[in-house]
């Protein structure tokens, strides 16, 4: 079965991102497929390449990156949510003439069409609210 996962919560503000990560691992472990993970609202902060949590604490960002690399999971952040919160890749930083960019390249900035597409093409869409 193909699962789409939607995350709404900022990484350390609620259990949203961490629970979604556990769910994603369970999906893969059970032999299912992840169609896409879509980060919406404050969840776009998960994509910051600059997060540096203490070594003995949860590394939400790093765990998503590991998941994506180990299992080729597509991680998409909503472009509108990202831009207004200052989550930029190099292209957007150039476009808006900002002094730097912080989006980890394990994540892709894209539009809300990717959220709807995930709902239409996955067998199940599971949302982890904030």
């Amino acid at each position: 079965m193909k699962f789409a996962i939607v995350v709404h919560g900022a990484p350390y503000a609620s259990g949203s991102s961490w629970s979604a990560l556990h769910f994603a691992r369970a999906v893969i472990r059970s032999g299912h497929e992840i169609y896409r993970v879509f980060f919406y609202h404050d969840a776009v902060y998960t994509a910051s390449a600059l997060m540096a949590p203490p070594q003995d604490e949860l590394d939400v960002h790093g765990q998503w990156v590991d998941l994506s690399k180990q299992h080729t999971v597509e991680l998409v952040v909503c472009i509108a949510s990202s831009l207004r919160r200052g989550m930029l890749d190099e292209t957007e930083a150039d476009r808006y003439e900002k002094p730097g960019h912080n989006l980890d390249d394990a994540f892709v900035i894209s539009g809300l069409g990717q959220l709807i597409d995930a709902g239409l093409n996955a067998d199940r869409l599971v949302t982890f609210g904030a």
């Binding site: 939607v6 207004r84 539009g111 069409g113 709807i116 709902g119 239409l120 869409l125 949302t127 904030a130």
Partner: protein
């Protein structure tokens, strides 16, 4: 084609959930048949006479009025959540159809995909 339902549960101006959720609804209408359901404080997003300029936020409630043009024929809300908040449909900026909990349960069952905000 799958039927989509968008559920709005947050009050309008304390967070961006409502406004960003509405963006998702608008995108959804470009792809498929969409239904909107307002639950809990989500109903406040449609309250008539909002003047959020004082807060520096946008009165996006008017966009709900345009959803009809995007093919959203009915906006549902929970009748009990409406009553709990001391509201009646005429307090809202657009026509809503209040529905009881059994009908809400049926709406969830009738739709293939639920997007919530």
């Amino acid at each position: 084609m799958k039927k989509l339902m968008f559920v709005q549960t947050h009050a309008p101006h304390g967070s961006l959930f409502g406004q960003e959720g509405l963006d998702a609804i608008l995108m959804g209408t470009a792809f498929a048949e969409c239904t909107v359901l307002l639950l809990a404080d989500g109903i406040f997003q449609l309250l008539d006479g909002q003047t959020p300029a004082a807060l520096g936020t946008r009165d996006y409630s008017v966009t709900y009025g345009a959803l009809k043009d995007y093919g959203v024929s009915t906006i549902y809300c929970s009748a009990s959540d409406l009553a709990t908040r001391g509201l009646v449909p005429s307090d809202l900026t657009v026509d809503v159809t209040p529905v009881d909990d059994d009908r809400i349960k049926a709406l969830f069952a009738e739709h293939d995909v639920i997007f919530s905000a």
